[in-house]
């Protein structure tokens, strides 16, 4: 039981961080399918810079910088250049996955993975007795994650920026009339999302583990995107959805070990996706404005290519 909880939090933390990134993008009306690519870029940059400089802080700052730069490029392509949000997002993911694996070979002349001793501190690693296993092995970023989610919620709900962002996502034409530039708001939302993806990637590589491995995100960026939808594009909802995915993952790992378990782990892992389909369907059924960001999305999702 303790082990399940510990695994849940460890699997959920990067998901929650990236899902929060997805919430910012979604609020601006962007279906961000490049989360996976940004996440792996964050993971790689953190490890590479931390290993070179010996400072994990520098590593994370560099990762944030690189991910924000990529996000700015993504904004440039889908905004001013009018590219398709979804295709360009998937492209960004491939660039991240291919680019990091390529850089691993080009810089370190190796394939597979890169180890580092420079990792995030684990503040409670001293507590090892009994249920202490729940808290002992988590990095500082896991502890910061709830605060980040809370901060995201306050920013989106209470700040001028958050309300403007909601306006841009819900009805960009009205926002523009009111003197808010949807384009600039989208850029800001994507930059925040980039920084959060970098943190999610960093937690994955130097928080939970000691290394960067090719394709280590393994679809987590997409699962985080699903968590955004499942959590009704609300930071708290997305975080809970992320936690749920973490739990499904933990139970999955456990049931793999425990052979007497009768339910195959694949079916446990399937639940969130099935529920998301149902949630998206019911959301559209019950409320006409099912997707608050629909108009903003519609503005970017032009049918003719």
């Amino acid at each position: 039981m303790e082990q399940i909880l510990a695994t849940t939090f460890r699997s959920a933390a990067p998901l929650v961080l990236v899902a929060t990134a997805g919430v910012f993008a979604f609020r601006a009306g962007i279906f961000h399918l490049g989360l996976e690519g940004l996440m792996i870029t964050g993971a790689f940059t953190t490890v590479a810079v931390a290993e070179t400089t010996g400072s994990v802080t520098l590593g994370i700052l560099a990762a944030i910088g690189v991910c924000m730069a990529l996000s700015a490029l993504y904004w440039w392509v889908i905004g001013p250049l009018g590219a398709n949000v979804i295709i360009a997002g998937l492209g960004l993911t491939s660039i991240g996955l291919g680019g990091t694996a390529f850089a691993l070979g080009a810089i370190y002349d190796r394939r597979g993975s890169l180890f580092t001793d420079v990792v995030l501190p684990r503040p409670l690693s001293g507590i090892t007795s009994g249920p202490g296993v729940i808290v002992s092995e988590h990095s500082i970023l896991v502890w910061l994650t709830p605060l980040i989610v809370l901060a995201a919620w306050i920013v989106l709900r209470r700040s001028r920026f958050g309300l403007r962002l909601a306006a841009v996502g819900e009805y960009p034409f009205a926002a523009r009339t009111a003197g808010v530039s949807p384009s600039i708001m989208r850029l800001q939302a994507l930059l925040i999302a980039g920084a959060l993806c970098a943190l999610g990637g960093a937690e994955l590589s130097v928080g939970a583990l000691h290394n960067f491995t090719e394709n280590m995100t393994n679809g987590r960026g997409f699962i985080a995107f699903v968590a955004v939808i499942f959590g009704a594009w609300h930071p708290i909802g997305a975080a809970l959805a992320g936690l749920f995915f973490g739990l499904a993952d933990a139970i999955g790992i456990q049931s793999q070990i425990n052979i007497t378990e009768r339910v195959p782990r694949e079916f446990v892992l399937m639940i969130p996706f099935v529920l998301t389909v149902v949630a998206v369907w019911l959301g559209g059924l019950w409320r006409r404005r099912s997707l608050e960001a629909e108009a903003g999305y519609a503005e970017l999702k032009e049918p003719d290519f």
Partner: protein
């Protein structure tokens, strides 16, 4: 026609630009650009078995890509090709392993039919939700991809698992050799005929039938189509169904052709690459054929690269990404920006 030519030119420019950008990155990283291109050409065309491998990888891309083209014609964004492909392969696997003693031709036909039905049902659900309730198909088809991947994982790691398999990733048992329509190269006259026939049929459907015209109308302007008495829902459902059926067929071809067994998470990129293929092919049937061969060549080069040069395969994943990232850019928008003549107030 000028519009078509302009789009063709713009796609060629954008794909070329993606190549240049990737070449620049490779050059900065210390690789000889000439080596990269000669390596890619060797891996795609000239090396022994490379041309066959190109066609082998082009086949699933083409079949799934044609499904994407059909979807786009009627205005639907089916990014669920991956899941539909997996479900098709799974259905064919269940038939082939469940009926080992059956006559080969019959088993292959049944397996293919099962694959088509599986792919079709995997796309009909999002299609039904879309036309009946307006549920966004991008989200639902994406979810169905994950569910399909888990079904595949369940089958290959559970009931269909090869107990003597030793690899790290779970794989199913092999289907009997008699049930295969190609050798492991994945290319044979049967497959080429089948794929060619499918391409011609899709072209006939889209360009030469009343239904194809109806689909295009629905895609251009569903409201007007409805006012003209077109049953938009029916058209939507048929479109989604056809789209999924083609992806399911691709799954069957994969199993009965080069695969012979299924491995957890095989060809993980094929569904998304097929969307890029359809877009690079300008959503036309013959354009998609050309684009599928092009991307099949890249895929083949990825596999051949370690043999012919020291360039790592991820470089081509990067190239793939660049093409997808840039291919939908509207060059019109670039020019408009530069002259600054159009106001920002109207983006559509």
């Amino acid at each position: 026609m000028t519009g078509g030519l302009q789009r063709l030119a713009s796609t060629v420019v954008l794909v070329g630009f993606s190549f240049l950008l990737t070449a620049l990155i490779l050059w900065i990283s210390g690789y000889g650009v000439g080596d990269v291109f000669s390596g890619t050409i060797q891996g795609a065309i000239t090396a022994t078995g490379a041309a066959t491998s190109t066609v082998r990888w082009a086949i699933p891309l083409l079949l799934i890509g044609l499904g994407v083209v059909i979807g786009f014609r009627a205005g639907f964004f089916n990014i669920g090709g991956q899941g539909q492909f997996y479900m098709g392969a799974c259905a064919a696997l269940v038939v082939a392993l469940g009926w080992r003693e059956g006559p080969a031709t019959l088993v292959i036909l049944c397996g293919t039919a099962a694959a088509i039905i599986a792919g079709l049902s995997w796309s009909l659900l999002p299609g039904y939700l879309r036309v009946r309730f307006g549920t966004d198909e991008v989200l639902t088809t994406l979810m169905m991809n994950f569910i399909g991947a888990l079904v595949l994982q369940y089958l290959t790691a559970g009931p269909m698992r090869n107990p003597s398999g030793t690899g790290q990733t779970a794989a199913s048992e092999r289907i009997p050799e008699a049930f295969r329509i190609t050798d492991s190269s994945g290319v044979s006259a049967t497959v080429l005929l089948l794929v060619g026939a499918v391409a011609v049929l899709v072209w006939l459907l889209l360009e030469r039938t009343r239904f194809g015209l109806t689909m295009t109308l629905v895609g251009r302007n569903p409201t007007m189509a409805r006012w003209q008495g077109i049953d938009v829902r029916r058209v939507g459902l048929v479109t989604f169904g056809l789209s999924g059926a083609l992806a399911g067929l691709a799954g069957a071809v994969e199993l009965h052709g080069p695969g012979a067994r299924l491995v957890t998470g095989f060809s993980p990129e094929v569904g998304f690459t097929a969307v890029v293929v359809a877009l690079v092919g300008l959503l036309s049937v013959w354009g998609t054929v050309v684009a599928a061969i092009f991307f099949g060549g890249l895929q083949s080069a990825i596999l051949f690269l370690p043999i012919v040069t020291d360039l790592p395969p991820p470089a081509l994943v990067l190239l793939h990404g660049m093409v997808a990232f840039l291919v939908t850019v509207k060059l019109r928008a670039v020019r408009r920006r530069r002259t600054g003549s159009a106001s920002e107030a109207v983006t559509s």
